[in-house]
Symmetry: C2
Subunit: 203 residues, 2 copies
Amino acid sequence: MLNGIGRRRQLEPGEQLMWEGDEAVLVANVIDGVLKLASHSADGGEQILGLAYPSDFLGRPFGETAPYGVEALTDAQICVFERKDFDRFARDHPRLEHKLLERTLTELDRSRRWMMLLGRMNAGQKVASFLLELTDRLGKAGAGGETFVTLPLSRQQMADVLGLTIETVSRQLSRLRSAGLIDTPSRREIVLRDRRELEELAG
Amino acid sequence: MLNGIGRRRQLEPGEQLMWEGDEAVLVANVIDGVLKLASHSADGGEQILGLAYPSDFLGRPFGETAPYGVEALTDAQICVFERKDFDRFARDHPRLEHKLLERTLTELDRSRRWMMLLGRMNAGQKVASFLLELTDRLGKAGAGGETFVTLPLSRQQMADVLGLTIETVSRQLSRLRSAGLIDTPSRREIVLRDRRELEELAG
DNA sequence: CGCTTATTTGATCTTCGTCAACTTATGTGG
DNA sequence: CCACATAAGTTGACGAAGATCAAATAAGCG
């Protein structure tokens, strides 16, 4: 029902949809691909605040400035709306606003679970949790009950998501590999060999 | 306009309003006091996911189970609604739902800023940021341009908020005291002597 | 007052970050 | 197709921040 005011847009990896601090002029729905929401600290370090997957909502309706930047990690397809159009439309369509409220509440819950991860987990637990979430979102079933994911992030980006360094992420993945919990056929591919054990590790 | 279906309730420090995992049967508005939202990891460690101050909204409308527990830190006054009543009421009153959506979006932004704190700051920055946020929310102006706060949390709870240990929090406070940035007339009271410098530390 | 609990302080130990070297991919131009 | 260049990832050695363990103080409270 939003089709009238939205338009499709294709993004390439690395393409920036919104900039942190920009006046928020648009909102969007993710149709396909993975995007990151990120904020920068004064010293240039980047903290990824969340990832957006298909069906997720992006942007800050009714707000003033975007509190974080949004950048595509993979090829992505999104449906964008001018914020003014969207705001007006939402006000006139309570059902839409209701839907949006539900999603935002869910997003808030997700973000709070992430805080848990950042505040209380050690490196091993973080990496394990991340792999599990990723396979839940993007995983494909492979042969023999194994799960298979293509990572939408570089090691650096994983480190930024988890509040770790690239080296620590790499070491943890190596550890999981030698423990036989995962396989890494290539840099961007992960096979979960033992989900049970991984869940154990994630705590 | 919600008065018809809400009722006042008084909470004492330590009193639990909702339990993590409970069926979410109520939602509430904070009128006075400070509450904590917290979740427990398997090993018993607690991560405080956020604090709720006057005017904040508590609970999970339209959801199934409460994703975190809510407990009063100080004497608190809240206005509670049966969730069923509230949901029905919200559906019939788009203005209310709109207001709630705006608040939830604001809350989401706040929670994301907190993720930044947990993921990227060191102990000194965390404690400094926390004191600044607290004085913004609860601080009273004292003599000589200084700001004065009564801490609603114990050291243990501060540690839980910041993802640190009690000892580290204590040491950081001692460090700030010897640097002349704060005074601690009693355990639960803090005087900011040099806000500028504290902001510097918080990064 | 004595007893219990919260906080501070000190002494180690661990984890993870930092710095550096090395290896593996991914190109690119000849 | 190969040689080389560049970027991404892995591994190792070391150090620092913060956790953990252990007392020592300081509040509260009956």
